[in-house]
Amino acid sequence: MNNTSTLFSWFRLILKRDLALSFKKIATFLIPLVFFLIVISLFPLALGTENSFLSSLSPGVIWVAALLASLLAVESIFNEDFRDGTLDHFLLSGEPIFILVFAKVFAHWLVTGVPLLLASLISTFFLFLPEGVVLPLLISLLIGTLLLSLLGALGSALTIGKTAILSAVIVLPLSIPILILGVAIITSAINNQDYLSYLYFLGAMLAVGIPGLCLATVEAISINYD
């Protein structure tokens, strides 16, 4: 009992620290958000402003922008701690790495994923999405960004100390199912079709992905510190 409570206090400690750090530098959670909105507004500029055309493209546009914004911020998950030695300190403390990964992914998601949800609300006006789509859009982004954070953590842990572009090349092909399912959910919702089956599948991926990808990330970190 004592053991679990110390683990939980570690989790809270790391989470608090990461959140405090990112609130100190406001850029870490504002920049992915603004990046997302910039990418979204590039599409009307490039493709024209016809309402029906834009709203037919919007699911893809929103998801590609979310994918890029989430991966843009991925470098910060482990690299910063690697550089200033925090990661070494934690590993020396002998606490399970699992709790570190868990806390860091959750913090990353709170700092980049949740602002993306707000930004996606704004993007529904930009891309003329019908109102009924807002709920499936938010739910799919909620699950999808969490999955993207998990995948990004794996890529970041594998490429600690390397460029972010390498981690993007590794992670982007693996994130294709998230993209396809997310677009499928929104498109089905626009066409008044049943989108729940896609949503359940995305949820199932999350249920498998949380333990699976966290374990892989733990392994990736311990490869780096052998």
Partner: protein, 239 residues
């Protein structure tokens, strides 16, 4: 058994026999297929690309599976040789997948009129190619060979679990976006005089892959064990 010197000795002894044999199987299969198999009643002679396309696509997929198996061996037992296998197999897998993509494109031009179709199978082959490139990029960016092996093993094991999900989702994407105008799946019914040369080509491709893999492995072993006595002995005796 799994020790690098032992493997190196056997590979060096077998390769002078194995490479010519695999080359002759491949050449026999290709000559039979390209020169003597009957032409297809629908597509004419252009279908003969199948004798390169299908075996390389099969290899591209099975090499990825093989890498995941080697990768899990490398992660669980920390077997050195498994990591070397993985490292040597990845560029070959990328090569065969690339051949499958190029030959598919060249086949598509005369039969469908375009070089590329966003069909489910083509798309997943393209994604497979990207996965290979990611793995190669990962291990070549890590200086420590052992760490590079294990990182590449990890990503190939994770990848092989995600690949079925990618395939399934690509199928959904297909149904979502377009009623498929071209169906590749309904292949022209093959007669046995087309099927046998294809079978020989597939076998020949596998043999070629094994001999290429052993060649690459020998280099990998030599470079990594450069400072051991057996490598020095080998080099001094041979040169």
């Amino acid at each position: 058994m799994g020790s690098p010197p032992f493997f190196f000795k056997w590979a060096s002894r077998l390769l002078p026999w194995f490479s010519p044999i695999s080359f002759s199987i491949l050449i026999i299969g290709l000559i039979w297929g390209v020169g003597f198999a009957p032409s297809d009643y629908k597509q004419g002679d252009v279908y003969r690309i199948i004798f390169v396309h299908v075996p390389s696509a099969i290899l591209g997929q099975s090499i990825y599976l093989m890498m995941a198996i080697f990768g899990s061996i490398c992660l669980i037992w920390r077997a050195k040789l498994a990591g070397m296998f993985l490292r040597s197999a990845a560029p070959l897998g990328a090569s065969f997948t690339l051949i499958a993509l190029i030959s598919g494109a060249v086949w598509g031009k005369p039969t469908w009129g375009t070089w590329w179709v966003w069909d489910a199978r083509l798309t997943s082959t393209l994604i497979l190619f990207f996965l290979y490139v990611g793995i190669i990029g990962l291990y070549s960016s890590i200086d420590n060979k052992q760490k590079g092996d294990r990182a590449a093993s990890l990503i190939s094991v994770v990848g092989v679990i995600i690949v079925p999900i990618i395939k399934k989702s690509v199928d959904w994407w297909q149904t979502l976006h377009q009623p498929s105008t071209f169906s590749i799946t309904s292949s022209p019914s093959m007669t046995s005089d087309m099927y046998f040369p294809l079978l020989i080509c597939v076998i020949g491709f596998y043999f070629i892959f094994v001999s290429l893999l052993c060649n690459r492995l020998r280099v990998e072993i030599l470079t990594r064990e450069r400072n051991t006595t057996w490598v020095k002995e080998y080099l001094n005796n041979k040169v």
